[in-house]
């Protein structure tokens, strides 16, 4: 059993194995993700009943909630990848962590934008300092910090390790930050309508939400795979397997042989 | 000003001396591999350094001398392979290794806003003022003990650091370009200090651009395979 785990561990650390296996997985995830998203979005936008309080504007949650959940999970995944890279010195882990940072930041921005779009009809303004939006904003700042480290440090190895330390410290602080912001919010605002804080969600609203959440996760995986594969191709560009791969791709697309 | 050599080879090492359990090598490496910016600096590097050795890490610029030194010190983890201290894996003995190590680096490691005496007192908290003054005298800085170090010349500042060689009783010396900014007389006397330390059972590892008139083993980097030719 241990030998199988060890073998798996070594395989996971190999860029070539990761590249080959994600070639298959990407297609699968993309297909499943698209089906989920399509179903969820159409159901949510067209067929789910309108909310008794907010009318139709609540439908943005089918994008907003997945984006929020995912940007928070992505930070944790990035921190875990950093931890694995630091402790077990697995270079692939660092690559995955590096790749997730801009993805998570984009999702946070998407969450903030959709939150603002949702806020306009609900509260009358484009921005409101409620607990969720403020927490998401701070999460975006945490992402900015990690991205800034990658930009500031030229040496790859040092940048990976520094970003790993920062994302681990950040992820430890995320619960503290969330708790503080929620508490701060209760000081200054009476309980307002917050997302999903409704007592229960009717199943006709809830199921499409689950579908879009799962769909987002699938697309997230595809996105991470795609960027990681790019990094791998670039880093391993001098190895034989990459050269062969690129040559055969070239042959396939142009019919010509170099 | 010259370095006065008062390092008596017959003085036995103190309690921090070499491991009494045997005469095996102190610092060993097996299969060291290091690459930087996609260039392999050295691979499959093996060596055993024993008490009494004076080892010079040599090679052209960029060959990996400082990288190797930082790996030996434990400041850099960017390598593969194994390091051993007194025969055991280094990772389990970091405290022991560092307790017996004196490192003089490329940077002087001395605070400009402190006097030489205060600087040395930090490196050796248990040393008496007498010891410190004695060490400073040996490097020719008698009378400068309580001036602020940033008022001294570069060579004098470096000699404050060199005074540690007389003050701290550490068996392993790792010295990076120790002869920088030292005049000719000082160089030959520092050479003698190094020889005496090795003869007393210490281990010295150094890099330098000077021509040393010292019996060294040379670890040559920058070739296809790193070997350890005997000198």
């Amino acid at each position: 059993m241990w030998t199988r785990l060890k073998r798996l561990y070594h395989k996971m650390g190999s860029p070539k194995w990761f590249y080959e296996i994600t070639t298959r997985w990407s297609k699968w995830f993309m297909a499943v993700g698209s089906i989920l998203m399509l179903t969820g979005v159409v159901w949510g936008l067209a067929f789910a009943p309108a909310d008794y309080l907010q009318g139709n504007s609540f439908r943005i949650i089918y994008i907003h909630v997945p984006a929020s959940l995912l940007s928070q999970s992505a930070y944790i995944i990035m921190a875990v990848a950093g931890l694995v890279g630091l402790v077990w010195k697995m270079k692939m882990s660092f690559v995955v962590g590096k790749v997730i940072a801009p993805i998570g930041a984009s999702l946070a921005i998407l969450s903030l934008l959709t939150g603002a779009i949702w806020g306009k009809p609900t509260w009358g303004t484009w921005w409101v300092w409620d607990a969720r939006l403020t927490s998401m904003l701070i999460l975006l700042f945490l992402y900015f910090g990690v991205i800034a480290i990658y930009n500031a440090i030229e040496n790859d190895e040092m940048a990976n390790k520094a970003a790993a330390v920062l994302s681990i410290v950040g992820s430890i602080n995320i619960p503290v930050i969330k708790y503080s912001v929620e508490w701060w919010n209760t000081l200054h605002q009476p309980a307002t309508i917050t997302l999903t804080k409704k007592p229960t969600m009717a199943p006709e609203m809830f199921i499409p939400l689950m579908l879009t959440i799962l769909g987002f996760y699938c697309w997230f995986a595809v996105w991470v795979f795609a960027r990681t594969r790019n990094e791998i191709l670039f880093k391993e560009r001098k190895t034989n397997w990459v050269k062969k791969l690129l040559l055969s791709e070239h042959k396939k697309t142009t019919g010509a042989q170099l | 000003m010259s370095l006065q050599n008062l390092h008596n080879p017959d003085t036995p090492s103190s309690a921090t001396g070499p491991n009494a359990t045997g005469n095996g090598p102190w610092l060993s490496a097996r299969g060291l591999f290091c690459e930087r910016d996609e260039r392999v600096l050295f691979s499959d590097l093996n060596f055993d350094f024993s008490p009494g050795d004076i080892v010079r890490i040599a090679g052209p610029n960029g060959a990996g001398k400082s990288s190797l030194m930082r790996i030996l010190l434990g400041l850099s983890a960017g390598f593969e392979g194994e390091l051993f201290w007194h025969g055991e894996p280094m990772a389990q003995q970091v405290y022991d290794f560092r307790s017996q190590l004196l490192y003089l680096g490329h940077q002087v490691g001395v605070k400009g806003n402190l006097s030489p005496e205060e600087n040395l007192a930090w490196f050796s908290p248990s040393a008496s003022q007498q010891d410190i003054y004695g060490a400073l005298k040996k490097v020719g800085l008698a009378g400068y003990e309580d001036l602020l170090t940033h008022g001294l010349s570069a060579g004098q500042q470096r000699r404050v650091a060199l005074a540690r060689l007389f003050l701290e009783d550490k068996p392993l010396w790792i010295l990076d370009e120790p002869f920088t900014a030292i005049d000719k007389e000082g160089v030959s006397e520092l050479e003698q200090v190094v020889i005496n330390h090795a003869q007393a059972g210490g281990l010295v590892i150094l890099t330098t651009h000077h021509d040393l008139r010292v019996p060294v083993k040379t670890l040559m980097l920058g070739g296809q395979e790193s070997e350890m030719p005997l000198c």
């Binding site: 630091l86 | 400041l75 190590l101």
Partner: protein
Amino acid sequence: MLMALLKRDLLLAFRSRGDLLNPLMFFMMVASLFPLAVSPDPQLLGLIAAGVIWVGALLATLLSLDLMFKSDYEDGSLEQMLLMPQPAMLMVLVKVLVHWLVAGLPLAFIAPLLGLMLGLPNGGFMPLVLSLLLATPILSLLGAIGAGLTVGLRKGGMLMPLLILPLYIPVLIFASSSVQAGVQGNDYLGHMAFLGAYLALTLVVAPVAAAAALRISLAR
């Protein structure tokens, strides 16, 4: 060796005590910007005094974090410290202690003066000083992580605040709201308890993280 480090750093701080005034002067200046920018109306100022003073304290701390490692990095002393047999995180704790004594604690003494200038109502002074006393160690601890990560970088100056400010936000929230609670005559012990708990968490996490950061920065 750690006691020696403490003595040495305190001595060094004393020798350059002129530099220590800079963050304090900055603190005063920043707080004074608000009446100029918003309005000198004492009613209004009194409302925002707690927040203004606390934001000023955060910014002044960020400015002072350079003191922690930069000088030692530049002359090679930091290298020597990482080669001490004692674990690096203890060394970091000593550095944080010195930084707090030299840069954090003075903020707590100046703050009541700023409170006066900004018309802070009477109930706010006690929690202001208490929160500063309790929270400035947290700022130094978290700051050590940022300082450790950026000590070797040329452009480190702008980067460090980006890294640490999100982590400072819980401190800001609880500290300034404790002052508000005091102003309104409410109990603020709960706020202090949170700050105490956050201090405990940071005491455990920050030295380890900062030591790791220093090793990464010096592995060059």
